[in-house]
Subunit: 316 residues, 4 copies
């Protein structure tokens, strides 16, 4: 099979300070769909409309915002077992554990581990399929291109996250050598091209499935990103965010890295979100794109050619 | 590695009746870039701007339009050898042969075979990288999102082809069981869902890399398709085609299958081209989409909900 | 004042065969807003979201589809009186009459007359303002760019109509010499440029406010058109129409005349509608654009460069 | 005639520090077309592609950037004479003078005057028509929707300017009472809605043809604006500006006032330019939109909901 191993970002678990405002944000403004919540209401599970799996976002009420963990869907239980063993063998990760099936609703056993940059990651092979609501004569039969009744910004899927952490080399080694990812783009110091400041990693034809920027922190989230499909939808997203008084951090603009057309904003707890369109089709034989540290400005915000203050200082 | 085996459509070799008008079409109107031609001028090699490899379209002057062959880039020479053996073992293909390195400029050895629907296919592992012209401080360094000096419609890449042939079952068996493709969408008779009228196959996250429709012919080309990136570029393509008096077959419109935003037109020899944007992200665990024969109209042309006369009758 | 006299198309009164399906079409699919209906339910009044006036579409149940009349908003009662007198003096019109204030809800006195092509036209100076629902601190105060809760295609306004009739010369004389319109574009026979086949007329900076095509009929409607704002909204309109099984006549495509980006479709009674975006800014000193009869194809449908069968034969 | 009096912004005369870099900016990056220059090369005349008149931008080399004057096309010489007399009678303006025909190439006599905010304005009735290059069988005959060979950002026309000055009340009185303009939008202090901070004025169906913001200066230019036609073209403009290292001031974003989709940037002399799309259709009976001073942020930059530092402090 041409697409094997780690298939995609499967879920991101975010900590929010209050569930009520968080749901208002993620459901009414961003336009995700609630699919389940824990009996005690402490966790709520959500999906974007064009995702078939049960959920891709997990919200948990906590005292501090940030990312609890990031889950990757793998192609099979055999891959799950093998990768768990490979991760253990690599010696790169800590706190390895198996989360039993059902701990997430509709989800099989998950293998959890902490990567060198301090982020908690998971692999899993099974999640119940709910569908995307487009079939007209049954699920996946004669579908319309998009469903009726979408709310808010309505991205098609959870797409990737940008994460901040210290041991970038260890994490990149893990993703490329153990988990089978490719580097699509990297930011390096011009004097020492082996010293990566940022690395954009993909397990697919997407320009990135996860990205890391070297910062002297552990396990931090820069943003969780959702796919929109067009630049006009980015404009519409900006309009909706302004109307709803959601704080926009940057954009609409274009990224130099990935060419994405983007807008950044914050959830009520301070977690940064992105919705974006565009980008290119990646292949593993595509040359890696290199950005020098001196061009980090246009690499991130291509139009302004400089970072805003929040880019390096605000994360959760 | 997450993307393995057959990576992508690597080249399509088209027969054209006269090279001069063909080049006017493919270079000045469509906007491909000539990268080489044979000493005798009988074959011209072209690429789209965002392709890094040496060429993706081969034009050959001949008495009859159509497709000579379709080439697939695989991830390594080892895969090339293994797949060649697997194809031979499958007994599904005819006229197996190795084309020596260099027969295409900048291209390694190719394994050629004729599939059950009569189309000549090739696998190859090596092609010289020319780059996409976007780097500002060297190839792939600090790139702009698109290069200056593009002409005409300027698609980013050769994306897929739709092919007509008789033994659809044999060809689908080959692609799914030997070459590792997935079925993303299929058109079936409602009474017998196992009888496929059309099959859309992917080896990637794209909604299709090649598609076949069952017709009582051998080795025919319905269209060769190039990727544009946005619906506004489809409008611009239509404007350019009209200005240049290129015959438009259908569109701008949306496909039901793949959700693509599309326009069909003909090269001067009668080969149908498509430029398109949009579509969804495919994963191998995504449920197959099924269209019934009675909804073939909206499956192909979602807005009109019916085929035009040319769809089933005009091919090369 | 820079904009004087006839300001804009103010309302179009359409005959529909059954009110229920008509309202489903104009409210749920097209996305107009019902603002009033007659006590007996025989007429329903609608507006588009960005129109401030009380209504712009009047639906009346009748045995035959078509246009009852077309109303123009003029800048003042003084203009209304003067133009009524001028029309009478011109001798070009028939069936002159005053419709009393209130016959349309919220509307002042209307002057009605039948023009040489057989269409019933009206002038009026007063209509109650309902607003566009965008103000955040009161009507027209600190407005958002668009209101929440829009349904369906949701055009911004009723924009123009294309009408079929026989005495084109008389009607053009009326509009240009009596009502102060300019000709923006015209289709003529190449041999005799004074013989107009079609005339596009404007009283504003819009490329057209009404258009006429010479046909051996009286008082016929080709289409009533609504403004959308972008080509992406035209795609979305096509998607909605297909989903709702509304018969699309043509498009998405571009008009040569006016450069509009368009889609044509039919209401359940057979009245043709258009939604469109684009076009240029007209000024009265802009040279008239001339199309020859031999280029009527690209003049109407720029991409296909030919009329479809319905263009000349289907009207109401 | 429905459009009378002042028809449109006809030209803006800008001072630039060096003509070479200025032409590189206005011709190669912005994409205007040079149509004439003075014998001594001190002034260069330019037009945008879809303008029919001889020129709309005049560049003059000077020691200081800024606007020399802003010219308005009126509908006739009779209007020119009458408005000149009305302006004189109003007592609102200074430095009234007639500029002889031919002082601008291809342009008739101009009446020049200085308005209360210190800006030099002109009225003129005649300018040679060069056309927009779209006709296929002669000027304005069977035109394509856009010409080939455009360079850079390629806006369709010079659209409006935003000007800074002190005596806003006098200038607004002049434009509304003498020149026939309407107020489309205004920014006022919430406590005293009669105290206008900013006024957007139109003589057409456009949301604005000129705008003024009250600042304790005389005759200053905030930006000269050019019309693009779509949000996707705003993105492309941003890409071109970044590639060419043109300093972007703000955007892409949306204005609250006029709903325009915009990007601001600077020419090499520090004059701010805008290219934009979108906006609504204005009519003189449309209610005036009011913004309170406390919402000046979203009024100007709807997404960010706050001004950037440069908005109030950087002008020429």
């Amino acid at each position: 099979m041409a697409l094997t191993g780690v298939l995609r970002p499967g879920h991101i678990a975010l900590r929010v300070l209050e569930m009520g405002p968080a749901l208002n944000h993620y459901v009414d403004v961003l336009g995700l769909i609630e699919t389940a919540r824990d009996d005690d209401g402490k966790r709520v599970f959500l999906k974007a409309w064009d995702e078939h799996d049960h959920h891709s976002v997990v919200l948990r009420e906590a005292d501090e915002a940030g990312m609890d963990y990031f889950g990757w869907k793998v192609d099979s239980n055999a891959t799950l077992k093998k990768m768990a063993a490979d991760i253990e063998d690599s010696g790169l990760c800590e706190d390895l554990q198996w989360i039993p099936s059902g701990e997430h609703p509709g989800t099989g056993e998950r293998f959890r581990f902490t990567i060198p940059t301090g982020h908690v990651m998971e692999l899993y092979a099974e999640k119940v399929i709910l569908g995307n609501g487009c079939g007209t004569d049954g699920p996946n039969i004669n579908p319309d291109p998009w469903p009726e009744g979408l709310k808010g910004i309505a991205p098609s899927r959870f797409d990737h996250a940008l994460l901040y952490g210290d041991d970038l080399d260890g994490t990149v080694k893990l993703f490329t050598e153990v988990l089978g990812f490719s580097i699509s783009e990297r930011v390096v110091t011009k004097d020492n091209p082996d010293f990566m400041i940022g690395t954009f990693l993909t397990c697919s034809n997407k320009a990135h499935d996860v990205a890391f920027i070297r910062q002297p922190v552990k396990g931090k989230l820069h943003h969780a990103s959702f796919e929109l499909g067009s630049w006009e939808k980015v404009l519409r997203a900006g309009d909706i965010l302004s109307r709803k008084r959601v704080k926009i951090d940057m954009g609409p603009t274009r990224h130099g890295i990935t060419r994405g057309e983007t807008i950044y904003f914050f959830d009520p707890s301070g977690n940064r979100n992105e919705v974006f369109g565009g980008g290119y089709i990646f292949y593993p034989d595509k040359p890696v794109i290199t950005w020098y540290d001196e061009t980090l400005g246009p690499a991130i915000f291509y139009h302004d050619r400089q970072l805003n203050d929040a880019f390096l200082s605000v994360f959760t």
